[in-house]
Amino acid sequence: MTTQAIDIPNDTKTDDHRKVIIDIRNVYKSFGDNQVLNGFSLKLYQGENLVVMGKSGSGKSVMIQCLVGLMQPDSGYISVMGKEIKTLDRETLDILRSDIGFLFQGSALYDSMTVRENLEFPLRRHKEKLGNVTDTTPLVMEALESVGLAHTLDLMPEELSGGMKRRVALARTLILRPKIILYDDPTSGLDPITSKEIIELMRSIQKKYGTSALIITHDVDCARVISERMILLVDGVNYAEGSYQELMQSTDPRVEAFFKK
């Protein structure tokens, strides 16, 4: 199937002198006969909020999993902070992963552990990154305070609501002070008010910690509020790229379909 990228006016193209921290080029990934990624490419610049939108099953989550080495692409180039993922050994990849926070769609809290243990878990392997701290309580408290849930320290995940779980998961991604945060559908399954709170939280975290963010979503409101730049993923390729306003004004029917209420 052929896809056609829409034209973006030159004056709105992203400023290329900024440092590229995620570089994906011509990535292909298929599952049997199902070609999920079909030459997908993107660049994430330092300090940027980039939203990738696509329909369910369009390969957004596959792309983000290839990015952190949870899945291997069939072909293509993926580098994070200048390091090509497929060339890294396990140890180097783990060190690199400590600079990448990953918020999973379903929060993915360890349900046999308390909130405190969930937050302490990533510190087990990466204490040296934070100066070999012996008492992890201040770090845990700081991360929980960032998401407004300091009182949940000793609760189990089952005692938390969906929105609280998402915020605790966000706190867990923050504990290692990542440079990049990957959000896999951060508002999915949440009511509009909680979604709004999560989006606000994402913005405040970026402001506080100066992180770059790659946000995978199909929530137009989330994209409108948080994105500086957007990529529409259709049939495994970047079909369209630009700011929210630019894409919203597009007359391309496939782009328009994303913004119809």
Partner: protein, 259 residues
């Protein structure tokens, strides 16, 4: 059509055996590499021992009672009732104790591991561990396989002891045999060749229970149906494999100890 389905099933079976062998190989590769998850290993030992102890003790006790009650009339008929402690002792220590305890643990532990790890896979908790820089294979799989390998022999010994006690109880009430006499006869009849192979094979039973439970959970298909299937097939596959291991163990024991 039926022939192609049969061939596919055979191919799938051998594919699964191949994947299980690779999984087992990865366990031996990871076990010697630091960091060692000692705390998690101890937690798993406690969990598995604690969760299965009552079940193993009750089962062992009933087996001891039932074997003695069932065998007694025949032994009386042949005038060999004085051989009862020897017969029951050897049966329980060599075969019944290890196999029945392992089967009980296959139902209790292998299904539990399959469901637990399977649900962690489905809810992306394993992926979350991976991206946080912790090796989930080491943390979840190696610790559990080691825990089952070391806990099963302990459970078998306790199950055997309670089974023999159950048998002694029947003999006490039905045959007026004192506990001291009963256990003296049991220990007189047991030899090195009964105890050592029977104990060694329980390590392998434990290893199989942990290995299959973890394997089924770790490669669980997405969805809640996948978790159920992982738990179910873990029990079925473990039980089948336990008999294969038992046959091999008895065969080798026969060569070295002339059973």
């Amino acid at each position: 059509m039926a022939q192609s389905t049969t061939l596919k099933n055979i191919a799938d079976f051998f594919k699964e055996i191949g994947e299980l062998s690779y999984f087992a190989g990865r366990f031996f590769k990871e076990i010697f590499k630091p960091p060692f998850e000692f705390k998690e290993f101890l937690r798993q030992c406690y969990q598995m021992g604690n969760r299965s102890l009552v079940l193993v003790l009750v089962t062992g006790f009933i087996i001891g009672l039932v074997v003695t009650l069932q065998s007694r009339p025949t032994m009386v008929q042949f005038g060999a009732v004085s051989w009862m402690p020897r017969m029951v002792g050897i049966s329980i220590v060599r075969e019944l104790g290890p196999v029945i305890t392992a089967l009980v643990c296959a139902g209790r532990i292998a299904s539990g591991i399959g469901a637990e790890i399977g649900s962690m896979r489905v809810t992306e908790q394993i992926d979350a561990m991976e991206v946080s820089g912790t090796n989930p294979f080491k943390y979840l799989v190696v610790t559990r396989i080691l825990a089952t390998t070391f806990m099963l022999p302990i459970l078998v010994i306790l199950g055997d002891a309670v089974g023999l006690y159950g048998s002694a109880l029947v003999e006490y009430f039905k045959g007026d045999v004192s506990f001291q006499l009963y256990f003296n006869k049991v220990f007189d009849s047991l030899e090195f060749g009964d105890l050592i192979p029977a104990t060694i094979k329980t390590f392998f039973f434990g290893y199989v229970i942990g290995l299959v439970g973890c394997f089924k959970g770790y490669y669980c298909k997405k969805g809640t149906a996948g978790v159920g299937l992982a738990a179910n097939t873990a029990v079925v596959f473990t039980s089948m494999l336990l008999f294969v291991v038992d046959f091999i163990a008895v065969f080798i024991s026969d060569i070295f100890f002339e059973l």
